[in-house]
């Protein structure tokens, strides 16, 4: 990956020089015009995003998004399908790097470090920004090995006993320990959907992340498993910063302190969840959350 300075002075991280050459950046800039309603900054940010653009080849998916994610806060990212919410979420741990034609401009700063800095190693980044996906995806290994996998490859444990402690602590935090403590050697794939998702959360927690990204973590779960995950999200907030993409308005209202509404790749409105769900300031937000979005 190369780093270039474009005509506007912004640093561009270039993934594919051939595609980059095809894009007229001045045209892209003219298409912006998005002004986010609400306060994008928070007093104590864990992640600071400024003027983030994301492109898939010549198609721009995210337009000039600036947003802070506060420490020990849950932020919900909502919006209709294709609005760029998952794309934005994937920017936060550079998961978009895995897509050849995708490139990101702007700044995403975590603990004073631009995560798109060319010198940054993405492996520790992805350890400190864990991710939980829509469908539970445990490794075809034992419950123990699923959780121990991260600490092993990142060299986080110095002994078997320490590794056991990490696994137990992670499963405890994920609210799964009591249910699996007597069958840690059994395959993770044998658990129920809700348990598998909590196992994935335990796996993410095991490498001591600062931020946990959740991309529709409950969409494949039943209401009881969903309630357990939501309860867990609230407990995890004490130690982690969480960004969650969800299609469920009620879930966003229940679990998050702040909510960001995306529409056609633009951040339309961001604010306290209470305010967004009782008196949204932007008509697009209101139309979406009240089900008037055509």
């Amino acid at each position: 990956m190369e780093e270039l300075v474009n005509q506007n002075g912004a640093v561009t991280k270039q993934f594919d020089p051939a595609i980059d050459a095809e894009i007229d950046m001045s045209l892209v800039r003219e298409n912006h015009g998005s002004e986010t309603v609400g306060e994008i900054s928070v007093d104590d940010p864990r992640v600071t995003c400024r003027n983030v653009d994301v492109f898939y080849g010549d198609k721009q998916a995210i337009f000039d998004v600036s947003l802070d994610i506060g420490k020990n806060q849950v932020i919900s990212i909502i919006g209709p399908s294709g609005c760029g919410k998952s794309t934005f979420l994937r920017c936060l741990n550079r998961m978009n790097d895995t897509i050849d034609i995708c490139f990101v401009t702007g700044q995403i700063i975590m603990d004073g470090q631009d995560i798109y800095d060319s010198g940054l190693d993405v492996v520790p980044l992805r350890a400190s920004v864990g991710m939980v996906f829509q469908k539970p995806n445990p490794f075809p290994k034992s419950i123990f090995d699923n959780v121990a996998y991260g600490p092993r490859i990142h060299g986080l444990s110095d002994s078997d006993q320490h590794l056991n402690e990490i696994v137990e602590k992670s499963l405890l935090k994920a609210g799964l320990w009591e249910e699996v403590k007597d069958r840690l050697d059994q395959p993770g794939t044998g658990l129920s959907g809700g348990q598998q998702q909590r196992l994935c959360i335990a796996r993410a927690i095991a490498v001591s992340p600062e931020v946990i990204l959740m991309d529709e973590p409950c969409s494949a779960l039943d209401p009881i498993a969903t309630a357990k995950i939501e309860e867990l999200i609230d407990e995890l907030r004490e130690n982690y910063t969480i960004a969650i993409v969800t299609h469920s308005m009620q879930q966003a209202a229940r679990v998050s302190q702040r909510t960001a509404y995306f529409h056609l790749g633009k951040l339309i409105e961001v604010g306290e969840t209470e305010q967004i769900f009782t008196a949204p300031a932007h008509k697009l937000t209101e139309d979406y959350i009240t089900g008037r979005f055509g």
Partner: protein, 241 residues
């Protein structure tokens, strides 16, 4: 009320909101009709009709219960948020006000029975005059509040609120006039007390009309003016009309 009920992607949601809205309008129409009939029974000295007015209040209660059930069902099913949530909770308050109009009207019909079905000498037209005057005034307020709700008309809603101050002055001056009947002949005390209670019922009906005006302002503007004085309400709303 299309502004309030329409526009949802799920058409059934619009229909459910519309159904509740129609129940509110029906409740309002019936409340106003009951008021007119109750006052007429006094004029006609018709105790039979007065009994019917009292019986018919059950129909208003039934609509109130039905509207409540619809609202509960809608909240459970649709989980309204933002404007929809504000609207539905406000509509519920309008329903409460209208149901209470029915209760107050019953008091007036009871007065007819009390005056003309007890074998005692009925009150003179002169002493009843204030009831008729105030009933007309309150009729106007209630009609305006229903119009304001049906058409979501801010101007009419504001005018109802303005009329409430005049209503209170009318009520006070009626009390002063009635006190002269007692001073003239202390045997009038019983009838005057009954009439004061009827005037109080009418004054409350006007108050419910005023409340509905306030609810309409909230529905249209999102501004809560329930506990504001007229000057403040004017300042908040006048620029939006």
């Amino acid at each position: 009320m299309n502004e309030m009920t329409g526009g949802h992607t799920v058409k059934a949601y619009n229909e459910e909101l519309n159904k509740i809205n129609q129940l509110v309008i029906e409740l309002g129409k019936r409340g106003l009709d009951q008021l007119r009939r109750a006052v007429q029974t006094l004029k006609d000295e018709d105790t039979k009709q007065a009994g019917l007015v009292i019986d018919r209040d059950r129909e208003l209660n039934n609509i109130d219960v039905k509207a409540d059930e619809e609202i509960i069902r809608l909240i459970a099913k649709r989980q309204p948020v933002a404007r929809d949530l504000r609207d539905i909770l406000t509509v519920q308050k309008v329903i409460i006000d209208l149901e209470r109009v029915g209760d107050e009207v019953r008091k007036i019909a009871n007065l007819t029975i009390h005056f003309y079905d007890n074998g005692k000498a009925p009150p003179s037209n002169e002493i009843l005059h204030d009831i008729y005057e105030m009933a007309e005034f309150v009729d106007e307020m209630l009609s305006m509040s229903l119009q304001a709700y049906t058409e979501l008309d801010l101007t009419v809603a504001l005018n109802v609120i303005k009329l409430d101050e005049r209503l209170y002055k009318e009520f006070r001056s009626a009390l002063r006039r009635l006190s002269t009947f007692i001073m003239e002949d202390s045997r009038n005390v019983g009838q005057v007390v009954d009439i004061v209670l009827a005037l109080r019922a009418l004054e409350r009906i006007g108050g419910h009309g005023k409340n509905i005006g306030g609810h309409v302002i909230f529905l249209v503007t999102g501004k809560d003016v329930r506990h504001e004085d007229l000057k403040m309400i004017n300042a908040k709303v006048a620029s939006l009309i």
